[in-house]
């Protein structure tokens, strides 16, 4: 278990947030790529949401065609570099690697992937160019991985693309949400600039699309519109005291951390409420920011947590304590929160119920809610004929990602309700093909 000292400058911040999957050196990449069996109908490819031809790019690395390897990756996944770093590879490609069946460590696919893509990015190797202009214009709302992927694919096919982003900087949660120890801001931006230089993506930042008028304007100006709006801010828990200033949402907390690094204020005692991956990230990162005590509080038992086992382990190894079967029922404090009031829970025939009389309080100077994000329902309801499912996810056709209003296409978290960057990358690319087909049919 590591005890982190509060970082006071960016160097110390970088030390505490040292990347989990560092870049391979050429020797490491050579040895690791040598191990790949070049499986037939390889299970790792099947497990990759973007279907990257993994044995091919690994063989290309091994034969010192690193540029070719990068192209193999980007051909399937425009966010290939970030994905190598941030994908939960243990449950995707690496989890499917046949070596696991003989208790041999699986091929480190993510790190090999980065070896190839970062070679291309660092050396500015141009692999793509915009297609011959076809005179058609597509708008993207939101600039997360789903939109970027869609935009790149469209540019290659000769479309003009404008990407409208509410925030100051593009790339969505890749920059603002992913844990800082998985990928640095520079790495996110470098990949974006790399794509940008080759394909000329037009970002229009600080430009939230919020009104019916804006929407009509877009509908008039563009041939199709892609919705890559993701999901919204942290949802409310409806707890008394939730509006105290030191009660924050996990997504907002992580965004501040990604942008302000060591200047992010973290007090001595932190409670993170939730049991998903976002909760793990928030807890891990609070500890890395030097909080003395970080408690992860979850209302069910450990096995019921939505988080990946490896993310939980990572949080524990960063010094996070956990508290299970604890349902928050109120925030204690006077203008400023000082504790969380919990009640113990038990699982009665599969139903979670509070144990009467078991209330207790745990002190905290910062309370981070990681209990889910609100959906974009309000915004999406401004678009005519756009069907959402019961969980406020945009309904799309499975292959083309076309919405019920045919001018719209959508992908990423807004469609799947919150998954991974790699899923957004896949959706965006497929949607681009869907748009192309629709406009040419």
């Amino acid at each position: 278990m590591v005890e982190y000292v509060k970082p006071t400058n960016d160097k110390e911040f970088q030390e505490n947030f040292a990347v989990k999957k560092p870049l391979m050196n050429p020797t490491e990449a050579y040895f690791e790529s040598s191990r790949c069996l070049f499986c037939y109908d390889a299970p790792c490819i099947q497990a990759c949401p973007t279907g990257i031809d993994i044995p091919l790019f690994i063989k290309q690395i091994n034969t010192k065609n690193t540029t070719g390897a990068a192209k193999t990756i980007f051909d399937s996944n425009w966010i290939g570099n970030a994905c190598g770093k941030i994908c939960p590879t243990g449950v995707l490609c690496e989890g499917a690697c046949v070596y696991n069946h003989q208790d041999v460590p699986p091929i480190q696919i993510g790190r090999l992937q980065n070896f190839a893509t970062s070679h291309a990015i660092e050396n500015g190797i141009k692999l793509y160019a915009p297609g011959k202009a076809n005179g058609k214009k597509i708008a993207m709302i939101g600039s997360g991985p789903a939109s970027i992927s869609c935009a790149c694919e469209l540019r290659v096919m000769g479309y003009d693309v404008d990407i409208y982003e509410a925030k100051e900087r593009p790339t969505g949660l890749t920059l603002h949400g992913i844990a800082a120890y998985k990928i640095s801001n520079e790495e996110v931006i470098d990949e974006l600039e790399y794509l940008q230089e080759q394909l000329g993506l037009n970002f229009i930042c600080n430009k939230p699309i919020e009104t019916k008028e804006q929407i009509s304007e877009l509908e008039n100006d563009y041939d199709a519109i892609f919705l890559g709006v993701g999901i919204g801010p942290t949802a409310s828990l409806n707890l008394p005291g939730e509006d105290f200033e030191n009660v924050v949402g996990a997504v907002e907390f992580i965004e501040e951390l990604r942008l302000n690094h060591h200047q992010t204020k973290v007090p001595q005692k932190v409670i993170v409420i939730g049991g998903g991956n976002t909760a793990m990230d928030a807890a891990s990162q609070s500890a890395r920011l030097g909080a003395k005590q970080v408690i992860l509080a979850y209302r069910r038992d450990k096995d019921a947590m939505g988080a990946y086992g490896f993310e939980y382990k990572l949080a524990i190894s960063a010094g996070v304590d956990s508290l299970f079967n604890a349902q928050p029922i109120g925030i204690v404090g006077n203008g400023k929160a000082s504790a969380v009031k919990f009640v113990k829970t038990e699982n009665l025939n599969g139903k979670l119920s509070n144990i009467e009389g078991s209330e207790f309080e745990v002190e905290a100077d910062l309370i981070i809610k990681a209990t889910g994000q609100s959906k974009q329902g309000a915004f999406l309801s401004l678009i005519d004929g756009l069907e959402l499912d019961s969980r406020k996810r945009i309904v799309v056709k499975p292959d083309s990602f076309q919405c019920t209003n045919p001018k719209y296409f959508a992908g990423g978290d807004a469609v799947n309700g919150g998954a991974e960057v790699v899923n957004a990358a896949y959706d965006g690319k497929q949607a681009a093909l869907g748009i192309h087909q629709w406009l040419n049919s």
Partner: protein, 444 residues
Amino acid sequence: MPDISINFAGIKSPNPFWLASAPPTNSGYQVMKAFDAGWGGAVWKTLGVPVVNVSSRYGAINYRDTRIAGLNNIELITDRPLADNLKEIEEVKKYFPDHAVIASLMVETKAEWHQIIKDVENAGADGIELNFGCPHGMCERGMGSAVGQEPEVLKTIVEWVMEVAKIPVITKLSPNISHIVDPGLAAAKGGTNAISLINTIKSIVGIDLDSFAPYPIVDGKGTNGGYCGPAVKPIALEMVKELTKHPEIKDIPISGIGGIESWRDVVEFILLGAGSVQVCTAVMHYGFGIVREMEAGLLQFMQEKGFETIYDFKGKALPNVTEWKHLNLKHKVVAKIDESKCVGCELCYIACDDGAHQAIALSTENGSRVPKIIDENCVGCNLCSLVCPVEDCITMEKRDDGTQHVTWDERTAAGDIPTTFDDDRAGGKHHFVPTVQDALKHRS
């Protein structure tokens, strides 16, 4: 404790592990270090009129992350003055009187041969090796493989040597010849006391894709070199066997060389009749220390098998090395997959489907990636078992009951062999082959 000492054509050595004539035996310093490390003998870097070498000198085949699966060199014989070498031979023999020091020689004229033999004998060498192998540089000057490839010339030179030599003479052969028995017989007829083989194989190890020159590159140009290391072992084993099975050569001691790195390699050469082994590349790669593994492994093997001396198993595999026509055509094996070990790489499937006999099917069970052998299609070629990455996962099961034995030779004698292009007796006549159109099913 088994006795691993040898008497090779009169050359005594505490063990069969000798250093081959090459860079590791370039100096007395190296030979002394090697003896200290456990080597029983050393064939000194070939002596003659000193040469001038180039830089660089080596190229290699790396097989994935395996370095030097094969080594290629364009180095010539010793570039050191003879007197220095002779002085060092003498010194080494003082420290190690019971170890074998063999002087490798390569000169041109009869007078030179006679002179240099006297010189090395005076220095105390235990034996002489005649280098008729070098396939680069020296051969352009009429020596090395230029001699090894001309049996008549080789025989003449061996005769010159035998006229004067008082110590045992080993003739080292070049593999750069289609029939190794020809130079082998020539050496025997010339009167050699022993034969060693193989020297390096003429090769170009690779081409640099930027300068378009072969490796190793000497100022933008290259030349063919001599290939050695693990990759050449199978060629060496075969050539050793050609000699040890030949009625007119089999009584001549053979020193086996080529790709030897471990005790297993050593035992294989001895099983094919070698009476000593020589090693170069493995030492150039790992240093003299690898002899530890060779010695420990050899002793362990001999203990387990109950062999007391090397001569208890020398040539023991030879009766089992026969001609194709004597193999039992009734023997039948079929591949078997151990499902509990299979990792689902499906390499066996694609190897058999694309590269063999379409005898493996992908699993039809949902979620399973364990392929199935189609017994009736399997010809027992072994390919899948060689491809499978898991130890002992695919094994070849015997399916015949052992009662039948028919060879090609016997079938020929009985007039029961295919004789026309469309003969019904064709081995593959009733064997399953998919239709040509079946290939289209794989189109995506």
